[in-house]
Amino acid sequence: MEKTGPTAVALDDATVAFRLADGRVYTAVEKASLAVAHGEFVAIVGPTGCGKSTLLNVAAGLLRPAGGAVRIFDQPLAGLNRDAGYLFQADALFPWKTAIDNVAIGLEITGTPRVEALARAQKWLGSVGLGAFAGRYPHMLSGGQRKRVALAQVLIRDPKILLMDEPFGPLDAQTRQIMGNLLLELWSADRKAVLFVTHDLEEAIALADRVVIMSAGPSARIIGDWRIALPRPRDISEVRMEKDFHALHREIWSVLKDEVMKGYVQSTQAGAA
């Protein structure tokens, strides 16, 4: 797919380092460069612990890179990324608010009257298949249901950039496909820039315009960038049957496989040390 506009998110040689409790410095990501065009759907795949969430945090403005630059719509990012909606990997719902209040809050804080905010929140809960769960508190929802409430919470604000960290992780295969198709439908109606982290390569290929592969950490880099030229609109379950899909999958997996093994070995060693 051609670039449809200005660069929504650009990381230029971003390096992220953490100071560990014992004083050593751990370089999680080194010189990662990535550009997401306006309206483009980019998926990041990489072995566990390589720094995918770290990259999203940088793009969200929650984490300052130690080196390199971050630009949002061609402006250097200072502070939080106000254009982005962030679907966190960990549970991030407000436990003291019901599902509907969790979804409505994003509108309420910008001054939308409560009645209207609640009506729109109810509609969003309906779109993620949770219309009947509006009055539940997060602890009364399953992990997958919480993820879907969080999705509605982010989408209701209609952000220009969507950062999604394994949003469909805890869902079963069927719900994953339903949610994936819903996401594609919403996205094609109103093209946002999407940065989508997943550990599922098939999901990445089925959804994205581009799939980016990260190497295993420490000092993880971006080691591959594939354009996914499958036709749109796509249906997640059908696109998997196509020949091109299999060719792409084979090609990307051959690179990813080695990194996954490396990442696994490194993480077990780091755990033992």
């Binding site: 969200a60 929650l62 939080l80 990324n81 106000r82 982005a84 909606g85 962030y86 966190f88 960990a90 549970d91 991030a92 719902l93 407000f94 436990p95 003291w96 608010k97 019901t98 809050i105 994003g106 804080i109 910008t110 508190y137 997060p138 602890h139 919470q153 982010v154 604000r157």
Partner: protein, 261 residues
Amino acid sequence: MSRITLLYLQVLVAVVALVLWQFFTTVPLFGRILLPPFFFSNPVDVFSQIVKWFSTGVIWKHLAITLWESILAFVIGSAGGILVGFWFARQPRVAAVFDPYVKMVNALPRVVLAPIFALWFGLGVWSKVALGVTLVFFIVFFNVYQGVKEVPTTVLDNGRMLGMNERQLMRHVYWPSALSWMFSSLHTSVGFAVVGAVVGEYLGAAAGLGYLIQQAEGVFDVAGVFAGMFVLSAFVLLIDMVVTLVEKRLLVWRPTAVRQD
């Protein structure tokens, strides 16, 4: 164990204890009474004392005073604890400066303050309230401080990414978290408000349950002391039941309302 059996056994414990008490204080064993009534009274006397208090109505005034002191101590101590807890949690430097002094004051057994408070605030209600406040304040303060500090980073980041400013973070994130911690210690803080009131009355007052017990002690009226203790226990139990009801309503969003006794 079914509820009925449990209740049955619980009542049994009380009955056995009372029977033993009555027995050892009235029936001579081997030519002498094991528990001299002068020191231990007996259940019948204690019970008739309680009945007398309630039938003549004298007890109501004392109960009302103690309740009023407890409520004042709880409200003032909680308000102070919430304010200072928030302030310290949001201003780590202020917290760091005051930290040793907070610890010092909290380490002090509050009873020693009672005479000073009596001097400052007189023998009326306010010296008891002051004592209760010093107890309640620290419980609430520590919990609110912790509640603000312990907001999960992801939840806080989520609030920020959803566009909340500092004031909105306060209202939608810090405040509910702090309140939930405060409510989880509600039993303790309410209990301490009563302790402050009763201990204050005991050490010098003209009314209240503590005063009643102290008066009975002054004339070696052991039945009166025990009667006062029973009324006090029942009073605290009743308040605790009310607290449980309040807690159930306020912490609906919690998996289980945490109780800290």
